[in-house]
């Protein structure tokens, strides 16, 4: 599925993501990194779990609202190969825990704080993801 450049929605949605991360820092004093929140929701001490569950529950709630607001103009298309989905999911799960963050934790929150680790991590996963897509689509083809 080819998608089109949607600058206004992109800037608006991005500002909302930044607002959410900024508010979370100012109110709860924490990084709004989804992989970290998710990992901790399973493994943190009992008293440190409730806010993680409510944060995660908010994501699909907000997505439903955002999809409704935009009339689902941006669409949805995902790979159908189960092996690819499982491999991708496992790599994202393990990689974000080993690398201490994902697009939100490193890419938005960490870089906003000027963290050197986050800048290096973001540049790394961006380049590797781009290279992966290049190999999958243009060298192997079909993905």
């Amino acid at each position: 599925m080819e998608t089109t450049f949607t600058p206004l929605l992109g800037l608006t949605g991005g500002a909302l993501i930044g607002l959410a991360a900024g508010l979370f820092l100012l109110l709860n004093g924490r990084v709004a990194g989804i992989s970290g929140v998710l990992g901790g929701s399973i493994f943190s001490a009992r008293g440190d779990r409730a806010w993680r569950f409510t944060f995660i529950a908010g994501l699909p709630l907000g997505a439903a609202l955002g999809t409704w607001l935009t009339g689902d103009a941006l669409g949805f298309a995902i790979a159908s190969n189960p092996a690819l989905l499982i491999a991708g999911g496992l790599l994202v799960g393990v990689g974000t825990q080993l690398g201490s963050g994902c697009t939100s934790g490193h890419g938005v929150c960490g870089m906003a704080r000027g963290s050197r680790r986050s800048i290096v991590a973001t540049v790394t996963f961006m380049l590797v993801a781009g290279l992966t897509v290049y190999i999958a689509r243009h060298l192997i083809g079909g993905l």
Partner: protein
């Protein structure tokens, strides 16, 4: 109250992901595919998110405490260890294969899409598997270490 704040922030985050189109894996892959029909949207999403959260981070640093007067619980590590690079690389491969990172994957659950459910199931398995392995190796989860009340980074 903090659980309510987390719900509000998570919901706002989810609205932002959907409005920006980042909940559509095809759109993310369209950005990562610079040699194909390039969709630059993700760069603007990340840029504006970064700008807004950087203003908040600057304000937070100047204040020295949260709006509730509490100390921050932020990562303080500065070292670039092999785990950071390896982890980011593994994540990059997974992200490039499907076009989903953790936020959009969890936010997209609202669609009830089977393929997305398979991805999220595998992702959570990866998270649990890694953390259990680290617990057995007695190293502890990496992002839980080095957290103090300082804004220094």
């Amino acid at each position: 109250m903090k659980n309510i704040y987390a719900l509000i922030c998570g919901t706002t985050f989810g609205v932002g992901l959907a409005v920006s189109g980042m909940t559509n894996p095809a759109k993310v892959l369209g950005f990562l595919d610079v040699a194909g029909h390039w969709d630059a949207t993700l760069a603007l999403v990340m840029g504006s998110a970064l700008l807004v959260s950087a203003v908040a981070a600057r304000f937070a640093r100047q204040r020295g405490s949260t709006l509730l007067g509490e100390s921050f619980a932020l990562p303080t590590r500065r070292d670039l260890d092999p785990q950071l690079i390896t982890g980011a690389s593994l994540f990059g491969i997974g992200w490039g294969l499907v076009g989903l990172c953790p936020g959009p994957a969890l936010a997209g659950l609202v669609r009830g899409n089977v393929e997305l459910l398979i991805f999220v199931g595998a992702m959570i398995t990866g998270v649990i598997g890694y953390r259990l392995a680290m617990r057995i190796l007695d190293q502890g989860p990496r992002d839980a270490g080095g957290v103090t009340g300082s804004m220094a980074s």
